[in-house]
């Protein structure tokens, strides 16, 4: 009777399974990329000693600044890499200055200005191998402060998995949000835009003053004595500020909604002359005495449908007028050197134009390097510096119709198109 026994035991097993547990289960998980808030005490940040460290491999390059024969390459929120660029065909990675929270910089004489969360730092560059902190202007970029003074909030890219997707506010004190929906993604975009000295700068020096723009405010520092920057005042600009470009005694500020023109003939107190409202864009601007060149693209964070180069007549600064617009492929950054305009076309490549005749720029395209994917560029004294997915590349641009590649600095997390 053994077989029957086994059959009935199978039946028994089956009935146990059937009657005990015929209930479905559903488990959900929600994994998302977000900006995780980090709270820092500024007193801790200030207590850290900043000294020149040995060279580190370039990772995730941000702003680039040219100072004499050196390239300063910012790694957003980490610090500044210093490279010897005496020979643009062979740049040498020299050292690294760790500055937490740093996203931008500018050099005035022998003094380097860099932001350190809410503070502005001034470094003495007299000895490039031993860069010294000479001044700290405290509590100037106050938009980072939470309500409690002394504590700042910053964000870190994080991926979080939760079993409870309905509650987005779990352990972040209300700041946890899907990064694509949160304002802080705007912050991160800002922290990762490219090329100071290039057209996406946010720190700029003009007329013995340092102008620093964040999303909504321009802050003015008197730097007449370079090693002793003094904070003068903030000026409210409105929302969505992206870039700043000085020309003569004017400031051209690119924003989400247009281009602001400020008269900075009184450097300590610029006044608004005009706002040129083109379609919404995050638009780099370059300027010569008669025209402003603006690129619009249908990037993702700036919802406009246009891929264009616009030439704006600014002979009357109070009434800027659109002169002509040219269709482009996907223009990101641009740089003007004399009569020559260079445009990075993202995935499509790198273009050079002769813009002496602004009505016929399209007919004066000099070169189109389709293999040079590029995001931003800086026309430097020795080379044209192009930032793209291949790293930081330099071109000999003595002949704008025939750019010659000199070198490329490899980077760990090269810039992506956005």
């Amino acid at each position: 009777m053994k077989p029957l026994y086994s059959a009935s035991s199978l039946l028994f097993l089956l009935s146990v399974l059937v009657f005990s547990s015929c209930v479905d289960e559903v488990n959900s998980s929600y994994t998302y990329h977000t900006m995780m808030p980090i709270y820092l005490e500024m007193s801790d940040v200030r207590a850290r000693i900043i000294t020149t460290e040995p060279a580190q491999p370039l990772d995730n390059p941000g702003k680039i600044y040219i100072y004499e024969d050196y390239l300063f390459i910012n790694e957003p929120t980490k610090g500044i890499h210093i490279l010897n660029n005496e020979n643009p065909a062979k740049p040498i990675n020299l050292s690294f200055i760790p500055i937490a929270g740093n996203v931008d910089m500018a050099v005035n004489g022998r003094i380097l200005y860099a932001d350190n969360y809410v503070d502005l730092l001034a470094f003495d560059l007299s000895n490039i191998n031993d860069i010294k902190l000479v001044k700290r202007v405290e509590d100037v970029f106050t938009h980072m402060y939470t309500h409690a003074t002394g504590e700042i909030i910053t964000f870190r890219d994080t991926v979080i998995t939760t079993e409870n997707p309905t509650w987005g506010f779990e352990d972040g004190g209300g700041w946890l949000m899907n990064s694509s929906m949160s304002f802080s993604s705007n912050y991160s975009a800002a922290a990762q835009s490219y090329g100071t000295g290039g057209s996406m700068a946010r720190f700029t020096l003009a007329n013995l003053h340092l102008y620093a723009v964040d999303e909504s405010t321009m802050r003015i520092f008197d730097v007449e004595n370079p090693s002793d920057p003094t904070f003068l005042k903030p000026i409210d600009l409105g929302w969505g500020i992206e870039t700043i470009f000085p020309f003569e005694d004017k400031l051209f500020i690119g924003s989400n909604v247009g281009m602001h023109i400020y008269d900075a003939s009184t450097p300590s107190s610029p006044t608004r002359m005009a706002v040129y409202e083109h379609v919404q864009a995050c638009d780099p601007v370059v300027v010569n005495s008669d025209y402003a060149f603006v690129t619009l693209r249908n990037g993702t964070s700036c919802w406009n449908g246009a891929n264009q180069l616009q030439v704006i007549d600014i002979k009357d600064l109070y009434q800027p007028k659109l002169k002509k617009s040219y269709p482009m492929l996907n223009p990101h950054g641009l740089g003007l050197a004399g009569d020559f305009l260079y445009i990075t076309e993202g995935n499509h490549g790198l273009k050079s134009f002769n813009v002496s005749d602004v009505m016929n720029i399209d007919q004066n395209q000099l070169e189109f390097l389709t293999s040079e994917k590029s995001v931003d560029l800086i026309p430097g004294p020795k080379s044209l510096i192009v930032i793209g997915p291949d790293g930081v590349c330099q071109f000999d641009y003595s002949n704008p119709a025939k750019l010659k590649k000199l070198s490329c600095i490899q980077v760990k997390n090269p810039v992506k198109f956005y």
Partner: protein, 188 residues
């Protein structure tokens, strides 16, 4: 004793009965779904068959094609009604589910493990080799539903094992369906 034949086939259709997952009030909704199964195998002894099964389970949420290795064992005299037991172990394929993909998001299903023990009765036809079969089974089927929102182009990628590259978020619903199955069909 010589074996009658090597090939064994069984095709059945029936119902899956189950109770849905916990609702907010702790209740469960009943679900009744259609199930089809065909088993093809070979006798390894007079009373035992191994082979593979293929089917279609049409749940409300999803159509699953279970594919499994199976065993059937029989008890009883030749020409008389028999009791049989069976075990199928394999996976479910969600290939019938459409993947939805657009500029911003993607969603898809993935079938997972399937396990199904069964018992049944076979009633041989008076003539020929076929038999009527009635099966009672338990079926445990897992599958997952994914909904991913793609990263906006240009947002800085982040190195992580938690998200597949190119995704900004991923919602994953893991389902475990436990069903009681009643099927009727033919053995041939």
């Amino acid at each position: 004793m010589a074996q009658k034949k090597l090939y064994f086939g069984q095709t059945e259709i029936g119902f899956l009965y189950g109770r849905g997952a916990d609702q907010w009030d702790g209740n469960h909704e009943r679900r009744i779904d259609i199930s089809f199964m065909t088993f093809n195998g070979a006798h390894i002894t007079k009373n035992q068959v191994v082979g593979f099964s293929l089917g279609l389970d049409q749940y409300d949420e999803i159509s699953i094609i279970p594919i499994a290795l199976g065993w059937r064992g029989f008890l009883g005299k030749e020409g008389k009604p028999k009791i049989f037991g069976g075990l199928d172990l394999g996976g479910g394929s969600a290939i019938l589910e459409k993947k939805v993909s657009n500029e911003w998001s993607k969603s898809w299903y993935e079938g997972e493990l399937m396990f199904s023990p069964s018992v049944g009765f076979s009633f041989p036809a008076r003539e020929g080799k076929t038999a009527l079969s009635l099966s009672f089974a338990y079926k445990r089927q897992q599958f997952s539903q994914f909904y991913g929102v793609l990263s906006r182009s240009g947002s800085q990628p982040i190195a992580t094992d938690l998200l597949p590259p190119g995704y900004n978020s991923l919602t994953e619903n893991n389902y475990l369906f436990r069903s009681f199955v009643f099927r009727a069909g033919l053995i041939f």
